[in-house]
C-alpha cells in the first residue's frame, strides 16, 4: 500500500488552504480513480448500492471497445484497398492504431484539461462523463480530420456544449455530437465529401454508401460489407456488427434504454420504406447504428420519462432517415436528428409530466 501512503502524505497540500489547492480537483480525480474513496453515508439511507457513475461509464466504455477495435482495422483496410498495398491483417491494424492514437491523445488531453479546469473553478469533483465523450468523439470523425481541428472541436464541445450549462448532467446536447456538428459547419470541406474517409492515399475518392445513395439513388456496396463494416466512413460507425456487440453489453448492464434503441430502429425502418433502397439499408449505412446505440441513449440529453423515451427514439430514427432521403444537401442525417431531438427532449418530458399533473388535478376535482 505504498501508493496509498503517498496519497495520504500529499493530501493535505491539496486541501483548502494547502499549497497546491489550485490543483485539488486533479488530485481528487486521480485518487478516486485509483481507490474507491472511504466516504461513508452521512444522511439518509445507511447503505448504498455498489453502482456509481464510474461503473456506469465503464460499462459504456467497454461497449465501445468492439467499435474501436474494428475501426482501427478498417482504417488500415480501407487504405490498403485504396492504394492497392496488399497489407496483411496486423499491418492494417497497426496502421489504424497509429492513426487513431493521436486522435485519442488530443481528445483526452484537451477534454480532460477543460473538465478539470471547470471542476476546479466550481470546486466540485471531476465528473466521469468525459471518459465516454472522449472515447466517442474520434469514432464519429473522418479519419483524415486534422488534429488541431479535433482539438478545437473538443474544446467547443466541452466548454460551450457542457460546462456553460453547469457540467455533466446539465447539458442539453450530446457533447460528442456537438463536437462533430461544430466541425461539420465550421469546416465542411474537411468533414464531408468523398475524399476524407480514407487515410494515407492522396486524392483517392472513397464514397460512403450514403453519398452514393445521395448521388445516384442506389448503393454499390453489398449488404454483408455494410453490416460487417468493410466500407469507408467515420472511424467507429462502419461496422454494425461491432456496434451490436456494444448494444448487447449496454442492454445487458441496463445502462442504456432499450426503449430508445427499439423505437429509433422502428422510426428509421418506417421512414426507410419511402426510399429507393431497402429500408433495412438505413440501419447499416452511415452513423445510424452508432448514433442509435451510443448517442441517442445518452441518459442526460435523451428524454427522461419512460413514455417520452418511446417518442424521442422514434422521432430520431424517423428524422434521420427523412434527412437522408429528402434533403439533397446532407447525405447523413443521424447527427442532426439526434441534436434536434436533444433539443426537444425536455419538451417531450414536460408533456409527459404534465399528463401526470393533470391526472392528479382531475382526481382532486372528482372526489
Amino acid at each position: 500500500m505504498g501508493l496509498r501512503k503517498t496519497f495520504d502524505k500529499w493530501e493535505p497540500a491539496f486541501r483548502k488552504g494547502g499549497k497546491l489547492h489550485a490543483f485539488g480537483s486533479f488530485f481528487e480525480a486521480f485518487e478516486t480513480f485509483v481507490y474507491v474513496p472511504k466516504t461513508v453515508t452521512a444522511k439518509g439511507a445507511h447503505v448504498r448500492d455498489s453502482i456509481d457513475l464510474k461503473r456506469t461509464m465503464s460499462a459504456v466504455m467497454l461497449a465501445l471497445m468492439p467499435a474501436i477495435l474494428f475501426g482501427m482495422y478498417n482504417i488500415g483496410y480501407q487504405t490498403s484497398l485504396a492504394g492497392e498495398f496488399d497489407w496483411g491483417f496486423w499491418k492494417m491494424v497497426w496502421y489504424g492504431f497509429l492513426k487513431l492514437l493521436p486522435m485519442y491523445l488530443v481528445s483526452y488531453i484537451v477534454g480532460l484539461f477543460f473538465e478539470c479546469l471547470f471542476a476546479n473553478i466550481r470546486n466540485e469533483e471531476v465528473s466521469e462523463g468525459y471518459f465516454v465523450t472522449g472515447l466517442i468523439i474520434p469514432l464519429i470523425m473522418p479519419v483524415n480530420v486534422p488534429l488541431w481541428m479535433l482539438a478545437l472541436a473538443v474544446a467547443f464541445a466541452v466548454v460551450i456544449g457542457k460546462e456553460v450549462f453547469g457540467g455533466t448532467g446539465m447539458n442539453i446536447w450530446n457533447p460528442a455530437l456537438l463536437a462533430r456538428a461544430f466541425l461539420f459547419f465550421a469546416y465542411p470541406r474537411q468533414m464531408t465529401g468523398d475524399d476524407v474517409w480514407v487515410a494515407g492515399v492522396d486524392g483517392f475518392s472513397g464514397a460512403t454508401p450514403l453519398s452514393q445513395m445521395a448521388a445516384s439513388g442506389s448503393v454499390d456496396y453489398s449488404v454483408a460489407d455494410m453490416f460487417f463494416g468493410f466500407i469507408p466512413g467515420a472511424v467507429g460507425e462502419t461496422s454494425t456488427l461491432a456496434i451490436l456487440i456494444g448494444a448487447v453489453i449496454l442492454l445487458w448492464t441496463g445502462v442504456a434504454s432499450w426503449k430508445i434503441m427499439l423505437s429509433c430502429v422502428a422510426g428509421g425502418l418506417l421512414v426507410g420504406l419511402l426510399g429507393d433502397v431497402p429500408c433495412y439499408y438505413q440501419l447499416i449505412m452511415g452513423g445510424f447504428a452508432f448514433g442509435c446505440v451510443f448517442m441517442a441513449t445518452d441518459p442526460v440529453t435523451s428524454a427522461q420519462t419512460e413514455v417520452g423515451k418511446w417518442i424521442y427514439g422514434f422521432l430520431i430514427g424517423a428524422f434521420a432517415v427523412c434527412l437522408r432521403l429528402f434533403n439533397p444537401g446532407y447525405p447523413e442525417g443521424m447527427m442532426l436528428a439526434i441534436l434536434v431531438m436533444n433539443t426537444f427532449a425536455p419538451l417531450i418530458d414536460h408533456m409527459v409530466v404534465s399528463g401526470n399533473i393533470r391526472k392528479r388535478l382531475k382526481r382532486a376535482q372528482t372526489v
Partner: protein
C-alpha cells in the same frame, strides 16, 4: 372481502443479519430517552425538571403549540438530563429508571361506549396522541380534525424489519381495542393492509371493524404511504391519518389495562450483529443495552430503525420513539484499489446489472456504510422509477423541492410522499443524491408556507 394489490416495482435489499425468531433475553434499560427529534416540526416544551420523579406514563414534555399533546416517560424513575443542542434545541429527555416500573394507572375503558371527544381526551391524557401521524407531511395529527380515513400497515417490508406477527404475539386484544379507538375518529374507515402471502396464517385476519387490503410485492410495498397511494391517494386539502401497528397495540393496552406500556420486542439485526435475534426492551432503550450483540472493538454503526430510514444514534444513543429494530453495520471507511473497475466484485450488491449480483439468487450481502462512489449530478434517468411503485415522477418532484417551487411540488405529489417512501431511490441512485433529505426539506418548506 379484501382487495389484493400486486406491486411490481421495488427491491428487497438482500442484506445479511435477519433476526431469528427467538427472544434472546430481556435487556435492562438503565437510562431511557425520549427524543422530540423523532417528530417532524415539533416544538417541544418541557414540563419536568432534572431530578423530578416520574412514573411510567407521566408527561415529560408537551407540544408547545398544542399543550394537550404530551409525551410520556416509558419508565418510572427520575429525570436524569435534558439534553439540548444548538440554539438550545431540545434533543433528548433522559430518565433514569428506578427498576420498579411503577405505572401511572387509569381505569380500564371500553372505547365502544365512549364518544369521540372522550376517546381523544383519554388518548391525549395518556400520551398516546403523538402516535397518530397525519399525512400529508408526516406530522402529529390534530385531534380536532376528522380524517378521510385511517391507514394501518401490518406489513413491514423494510430491510430486516421485525415480523409483526412475532412481535405482537398474544397482543390481539390490544390491537383490536386500538382499532376500536381509532375508528371513532373517521367516517372513512380504518384500512388495514396485510401481506398477501402471510395473511392467511395471521391472527390479525380475525380483526373486526377494519377494511382489509392485501398487498403483494417487494419493499416499499409495506410502506403505508405507498399503500395509500394505491388505495385512496391523498389530494390537496385532504387529510388521512396513519398509525403503526406497534402503536395501535400500545393504544389498545392503554384502554384495556389503563397503563402506558412502552415495553416491546426489539429486533437486533444487521450484518455486524452477532446472533441477531429479538430482545425484550422498551421505547427509548439505550444502545448500551445491546452491547452483547456487537464487537465494540470494531468500528460499527448503530442504527435505530432500518438501514434505509433509521437514525445513526451511536453507541451512546437511544432507540427512537417508534422503533422496534436496531441495525448494526460496519462502517465502510476503507479504500478499495480500482474497486469501480473490477469486473466481478461478487461481495458487492447492486440493483443494477453492471454487477453480477442480479444473477446470484438469494445470496445475502455483508453490507457496510461505504457510499460506493462520489456524489454527482443526476445523470442516469430511469433508476428511481424501478423501485417506486407510486404514480409519481421522483426526479421531477425532487427537482421541484430543490427549486422550492411550491406549486410544482403540489402538482407533482408532495402530499402523497414522505422521505421513507423514496428511501430506495436513494439506495439505488448511481449519483448518490440524498433524495430523502431533499424531500424532507421540501415538506418542511410546505409546512412553513402553508401554515
Amino acid at each position: 372481502m379484501s382487495e389484493q394489490i400486486r406491486l411490481k416495482k421495488g427491491l428487497d435489499i438482500p442484506v445479511a443479519g435477519a433476526a431469528s425468531q427467538t427472544i434472546a433475553k430481556t435487556v435492562s434499560a438503565d437510562i431511557v430517552a425520549i427524543k422530540p427529534t423523532d417528530f417532524r416540526a415539533l416544538v417541544p416544551k418541557m414540563v419536568v425538571k432534572e431530578g423530578d420523579r416520574v412514573l411510567a406514563g407521566d408527561p415529560l414534555f408537551v407540544d408547545k403549540n398544542r399543550p394537550q399533546v404530551c409525551f410520556c416517560s416509558p419508565v418510572s424513575g427520575t429525570v436524569d438530563a435534558v439534553v439540548r443542542g444548538d440554539k438550545r434545541k431540545l434533543l433528548e429527555v433522559r430518565v433514569k429508571a428506578d427498576g420498579k416500573m411503577e405505572y401511572r394507572r387509569k381505569k380500564a375503558a371500553v372505547p365502544a361506549s365512549m364518544t369521540k371527544e372522550k376517546t381523544a381526551a383519554r388518548m391525549l391524557d395518556m400520551g398516546l396522541w403523538p402516535m397518530v401521524i397525519q399525512r400529508p407531511y408526516g406530522i402529529i395529527a390534530n385531534p380536532d380534525d376528522s380524517p378521510k380515513s385511517i391507514f394501518i400497515s401490518a406489513m413491514d417490508t423494510a430491510p430486516l424489519a421485525p415480523d409483526y406477527d412475532f412481535v405482537l404475539q398474544n397482543r390481539f386484544d390490544d390491537v383490536q381495542t386500538g382499532i376500536d379507538v381509532l375508528s371513532k375518529f373517521t367516517k372513512g374507515g380504518v384500512h388495514f393492509s396485510m401481506n398477501y402471502y402471510t395473511c392467511p396464517s395471521s391472527e390479525f385476519k380475525k380483526l373486526r371493524g377494519v377494511i382489509f387490503h392485501e398487498f403483494e410485492g417487494k419493499h416499499p410495498a409495506g410502506n403505508v404511504g405507498v399503500q395509500i397511494n394505491h388505495l385512496s391517494p391523498i389530494n390537496k386539502g385532504e387529510i388521512v391519518w396513519t398509525v403503526d401497528l406497534l402503536s395501535v397495540a400500545m393504544i389498545g393496552k392503554a384502554f384495556n389495562d389503563g397503563i402506558y406500556d412502552a415495553t416491546r420486542l426489539v429486533a437486533v439485526t444487521g450484518p455486524a450483529a452477532k446472533n441477531p435475534a429479538y430482545v425484550n426492551a422498551i421505547q427509548g432503550a439505550p444502545m448500551s443495552a445491546f452491547a452483547d450483540f456487537f464487537d465494540s472493538s470494531e468500528n460499527v454503526r448503530l442504527v435505530s430503525g432500518d438501514i434505509l430510514t433509521g437514525e445513526n444514534v451511536g453507541p451512546e444513543g437511544f432507540l427512537g420513539f417508534f422503533d422496534n429494530q436496531v441495525t448494526i453495520l460496519k462502517e465502510g471507511d476503507y479504500y478499495e484499489t480500482f474497486g469501480w473497475c473490477k469486473p466481478f466484485r461478487t461481495k458487492k450488491f447492486s440493483f443494477s446489472h453492471t454487477y453480477w449480483s442480479w444473477l446470484a439468487g438469494r445470496k445475502k450481502y455483508d453490507m457496510d456504510t461505504n457510499t460506493n462512489g462520489g456524489a454527482r449530478p443526476f445523470v442516469v434517468s430511469d433508476v428511481y422509477g424501478k423501485v417506486l411503485p407510486m404514480d409519481i415522477y421522483p426526479v421531477y418532484l425532487a427537482k421541484a423541492c430543490l427549486a422550492k417551487d411550491i406549486e410544482k411540488m403540489e402538482n407533482l405529489g408532495i402530499y402523497e410522499v414522505l422521505p421513507e417512501d423514496l428511501a430506495l431511490c436513494e439506495f439505488v441512485c448511481p449519483s448518490k443524491v440524498g433524495i430523502q433529505q431533499i424531500i424532507s426539506d421540501g415538506i418542511d418548506l410546505m409546512l412553513k408556507e402553508m401554515a
